[in-house]
């Protein structure tokens, strides 16, 4: 497959199919995994533990050399780890947000990063100001890395990686262990960054909130193979043939509701019904004419439930 560089050179497209034998177990980590990302896309990369997510990310970032198959990122072969390539990518892992000496202050480390990634001084100052603003770093700059809390480390880690404006970001469980505020900041920031710079983002997470709020597109991988690749809501539709009907009808007859669908919850005149997807329109119309309905809404099944089902039963 050929690939034409887009404007700004920030796109990438890759085909990947590799057989991986880990050193000690004869378990193929990633096999026949093929997918491509368009420039500027933000894609959620999900799968159960041990599905091969991190391995794939390592291959894409050049940390691992696939035994077979083709990988192209920004037109480069990642495993060659050319400087021009490395300068355009960032790989951020929630499990180790910042490497390097922990005795130094955040600012020292940022300055080293500037040298390493050859960021021009003017751009460095501009980016630094912007990042300080967005990530609320002002208080952190003078502090030593080892003295930072996990949430602060993650913010510092983001600043270190985004200082050189990578065109491609690999985020491996970026919200791991963060509290609600930290995770929200993280998500908002990634979304903003992707929008502003048109960077391509591949994100793994076990928290469906991350995926749901950031990624219009989802790649689901399991046992080293791509199980699903497409829109998030389409996956939900495919996996969950039901929708939830939540209605408030104080005088409703329970018998009547049971005929409309399975009653999941009932309290104080509010009911939650599970209704087959294709019967939703008809059932809603019927209920509205027959009953005295104070309020009615149609909801998708919670994403967690959908994904759990995909992990356990596969995508069908």
């Amino acid at each position: 497959m050929t690939y034409r560089a887009p404007i700004r050179g920030s796109g990438w497209k890759e085909t990947l199919s590799s057989v991986f034998n880990r050193q000690y177990r004869e378990v193929p980590a990633v096999q026949h995994a093929s997918f491509a990302l368009a420039p500027g896309e933000v894609v959620g990369f999900i799968g159960p533990n041990g599905a091969g997510k991190t391995t794939t990310m390592k291959i894409l970032s050049g940390l691992l050399h696939a035994t077979s198959g083709q990988v192209q990122v920004l037109g480069y072969s990642p495993w060659q780890r050319r400087s021009e390539f490395l300068r355009q990518i960032a790989f951020i892992r929630g499990s180790q947000p910042v490497g390097g000496s922990q005795e130094l202050t955040v600012l020292d480390t940022l300055q080293y990063q500037r040298l390493l990634y050859e960021v021009p001084p003017a751009e460095y100052r501009r980016n630094l100001d912007e990042l300080t603003e967005l990530l609320d770093l002002k208080e952190l700059l003078q502090r030593q890395l080892r003295a930072l809390s996990l949430g602060e480390k993650m913010r510092a880690g983001l600043a270190l990686s985004l200082l050189y404006r990578p065109a491609v970001m690999f985020l491996d469980e970026p919200t791991l262990g963060l509290d609600v505020t930290g995770a929200t900041t993280m998500r908002r920031f990634v979304a903003e960054y992707a929008e502003q710079t048109a960077a391509t983002v591949l994100l793994t997470s076990h928290y469906m909130v991350d995926v749901a709020s950031l990624c219009p597109r989802l790649v689901l991988i399991d046992k080293g193979q791509v199980q699903y690749d497409g829109k998030l809501d389409e996956l939900a539709a495919k996996l969950s043939p039901y929708k939830l009907l939540r209605l408030t009808a104080p005088n409703a007859d329970e018998e009547r509701l049971r005929r409309a669908g399975e009653v999941l919850e009932a309290s104080d005149g509010t009911w939650v019904l599970r209704v087959p997807r294709d019967a939703v329109a008809r059932t809603t119309a019927e209920l509205l004419t027959e009953l005295e309905v104070a309020d009615l809404s149609v909801e998708e099944a919670p994403l967690e439930v959908v994904i759990d089902r995909a992990y356990r039963e596969g995508v069908g």
Binding site: A29, G62, L64, L86, G99, S101
Partner: protein, 261 residues
């Protein structure tokens, strides 16, 4: 050029990190002075019983001790911190990944980005000891001898770096092996003129594990003037050590990026 700047920045970072612990600084300073005096005391004790140790006079031995201090300090400052870091953190804990992702040669980052600037105190002390030895020796070395001496020191440093990298490379294949301690122990053998060792050991130290380059060869070069028969093999040996190190490192990286998860 970029590498030099990075190296300077890394050194600066380490210096800053060191300065955060002021008491440790004093401790290390005192300890390195005590260590130096202990080795000077050894020389003093030996020469209180004899005039010549395997053909070396007291003044010559002081120059040797000083030269040994010079290279030891460079080794402690720039090579050891990386070497001891590598198998445990780099391989077993996977921190090498960070370096692999950075746009600079990985070998440079892994083998030279850490340093303990405090060890350079030994360098100054070493120079003082050499000066002391030379003043006792009674004859100043010629400018060519000094130039040749520097050349052998550089060769010694390169061999030290190369051997360090080779040892570290073993971690790619056997992550549990931590050989830096043995390297450090063997290194101590260079503290004495290699002429005192018996024949099989001396040959090993000259050709296989060239610790003679650390102190004995530079010292004889400084005191007796350069000899082509010594200089040429030293330079060639240094080149071979570096090439070997780079080759092994590449092979190791191929293995590392090919098989771990």
């Amino acid at each position: 050029m970029k590498l030099l700047r990075l190296f300077a920045a890394g050194f600066g970072r380490s210096a800053q990190a060191t300065l955060t612990y002021r008491i440790n600084l004093v401790f290390d300073l005192v300890l390195s002075i005590i260590g130096l005096f202990a080795s000077l005391a050894t020389v003093f004790i030996v020469y209180s019983r004899t005039d010549s140790l395997a053909g070396w006079t007291e003044a010559e031995t002081y120059v040797l001790i000083g030269t040994f201090q010079l290279l030891s300090s460079l080794k402690n400052a720039f090579i050891d911190p990386n070497l001891s870091w590598f198998p445990e953190n780099g391989i077993r804990k996977g921190k090498l990944d960070t370096f692999l992702l950075q746009p600079a040669p990985t070998l440079f980052l892994a083998s030279l980005s850490r340093s303990t600037p405090l060890s350079l105190i030994q360098f100054v002390l070493g120079l003082a000891v050499i000066a002391f030895g030379l003043s006792n020796y009674g004859r100043l070395p010629t400018p060519t001898a000094i130039l040749a001496w520097m050349l052998t020191l550089v060769a010694g440093l390169l061999v030290t770096w190369g051997m360090g990298v080779l040892l570290a490379c073993l971690a790619f294949w056997a992550p549990r092996l931590q050989l830096d301690v043995f390297y450090g122990s063997a290194w101590e053998l260079a503290r004495c003129p290699t002429d005192i060792y018996r024949r099989p050991l001396r040959l090993v130290l000259t050709y296989v594990f060239p610790l003679t380059l650390i102190a004995t060869i530079p010292t004889t070069t400084l005191l007796n003037g350069p000899r082509l028969l010594v200089l040429a093999p030293s330079v060639i040996g240094a080149a071979i050590a570096c090439l070997l190190a780079i080759g092994c490192w590449r092979a190791g990286l191929r293995r590392y990026t090919g098989a771990t998860s």
